[in-house]
Amino acid sequence: MGLWKTINIALIALKVNALRSFLTMLGIIIGIASVIVMVSVSSGSKQEIERAIDQLGSNMLSIRPGASVSGGRHSAAGSATPLTEKDITKLKHRFDFLEGVSGSLSTTAPVIYGNSNWTTSIRGVHTDYIDVRQWVIDEGRNFSERETRSGGKVALLGQDLIEKLFGGETPLGARIRIKNVPFTVIGTLQAKGESSFGRSQDDVIFIPISTARMRVSGRNDRSVPDMVGNIYLTVSLDSNIQIAQQELTEFMRELRKIAPGAQDDFSVRNFSEFIRARNETSSTLGLLLAATAAIALLVGGIGIMNIMLVSVTERTREIGLRLAVGARRNDILMQFLVEAVTLCLIGSFFGVAIGVSTGELIRQTSEIPVLLNVPIIFVAIASATFVGIFFGFYPAQKASQMNPIDALRYE
């Protein structure tokens, strides 16, 4: 028995009761349309979150002095033992999975070039910092290891700073001054734009961490000669970041001689986790919306089942005749299943059309992130097929189990 012919029979049967078929379909149309809209909206916001995580680097961890307290804030960093170059050396020595490690010692101070000056964030960093924090050198070069270690007076400039001090001219090779120390600009950084917190990340200057410590930060504490502020590190992509985080925490506890059971006086943080947690409420809401849409589809499915039961009863004599001329039970089962699935599929095409255009309308007229993609459409069509099979099965089964003679005699 050909599938096309069966579909054709189904279409004819649906056409006979066109209005009834359409009203039944309406449930599926609404269900599929809302599934598409809800899924697009929730995957839109998920994409937004992933983009923010990507910007930070999904394999990046940070170690900061000071215990982390609830809400992700830190207790005063000054009260805890600072992190030092020694820690970095030991970390590098201990863990093979580290790809890049860098300290970051920040201050704010004016940068002077000729007659202009601009107060900006001055960050003392290691050579790896560029890679670890996913910066890209636009022009020029990164610090060499030697410059990093031996207090080289060189600098990398962010785009905002270039704009403010140089007004678009190339700053490469220029001499600038920070706290009366002259620096040579050896490179510029590609713009990163706003952070997920809404601040520009390009209002920044990088200098070697040793130089920052000795000449700029004013934090060259004699008791801690090699402090590095925070440590940022990336783990290789094939290692598990959660496990890396745990191992780092244990190792840091050892280094800092924290008694078992005592609280950490540092924190190892996973940035993507942090952002995910921050957005948990929005994804919960998305789930809730998707569940609502699924219920709409379920109600549509019940409508299908109802109408198929009516249809089977109405066509009992037809079923009897088909059995009398040689239809097998399976043929009858397929006929009604195909009819239910056809009903759902036609409904799902309308539903997809309405869902996609509604999603597009939301995207264009509001701030809500909407991600419309092809998989959603396949998911919608697949779920319509599933609904058709699931809710069409019982009526079809009922039809196929009829006794030929009783069906033929049915009034």
């Binding site: 004819i12 006979v16 004599r317 088909r322 009398a324 001329v325 040689g326 097998r328 030929p404």
Partner: protein
């Protein structure tokens, strides 16, 4: 010895109707050979239709053996029975039972749709059958656009399309006037002469007279079984 097509041995059919049991058929034994033309008569409720339905595998006997073309219908799986109905028998009902809103041609093609036998082009086969019943010019008409006699002829074409061994007609002329009935009987006679076994249930003596063997039923039993028109050549 002639070729046996249908063999009933003490076939019984009981119906349970709220507490009491109705014996629609009690111990019917009967042999019908290939190429016979049998008319079954008898009062209403005597079990004629019941027997037809059993022979056509629309229903199964309560007791007894019913063998058609070597197949014991009492013990077959549903799919085997479906296949049997598809290519062994052709039904003609009193109420025609055509699919509504479906052309004569499509109605005739219906058994081919369920056929597993490799055959020629379905359209050609169906058209040939419509030609045979004299309706070649009406094949695209819906049942509502056909007269009763024409509808019954479409039903006969449908019964013929899979080249069955036997045609089972349950009061085929019941809804037709006498002139149309006569035309239909001519068609049956022609089919019988081409070798198809025909069993027809009727209340009309004239219809029975056209056949070559008359069975009379009463209360679920065969009371007379007479051969007539023995002179007519097969």
């Amino acid at each position: 010895m002639k070729n046996v097509l249908i063999e009933c041995q003490s076939v019984c059919k009981d119906y349970a109707m709220g507490g009491e049991v109705i014996h629609a058929l009690s111990n019917v034994s009967l042999t019908i050979c290939k190429g016979e033309y049998v008319a079954i008569m008898g009062p209403s409720g005597s079990g004629k239709s019941t027997l037809m339905n059993l022979i056509g595998a629309l229903d199964v006997p309560t007791r007894g053996d019913l063998v058609v073309d070597g197949l014991n219908l009492s013990i077959q799986a549903p799919d085997t029975l479906a296949e049997f109905r598809n290519h062994m028998v052709g039904f003609v009902f009193q109420q025609f039972n055509l699919l509504p809103r479906t052309s004569a041609l499509e109605n005739v093609k219906l058994p081919l749709f369920y056929s597993r036998k490799p055959g020629g082009d379905a359209d050609d086969q169906a058209k040939a059958c419509l030609q045979r019943v004299g309706l070649a010019d009406r094949m695209h008409h819906d049942p509502t656009q056909l007269s009763g006699g024409q509808q019954q002829r479409v039903a006969i074409a449908r019964a013929l399309v899979n080249q069955p061994s036997v045609i089972l007609a349950d009061e085929p002329t019941g809804a037709l006037d006498s002139k149309t009935s006569l035309e239909l009987l001519d068609l049956f006679q022609e089919l019988n002469q081409s070798g198809i076994t025909i069993i027809v249930v009727t209340h009309d003596q004239e219809v029975a007279d056209k056949s070559r063997r008359n069975l009379v039923f009463r209360d679920g039993r065969i009371v007379t079984d007479t051969v007539i028109n023995a002179d007519r050549a097969v």
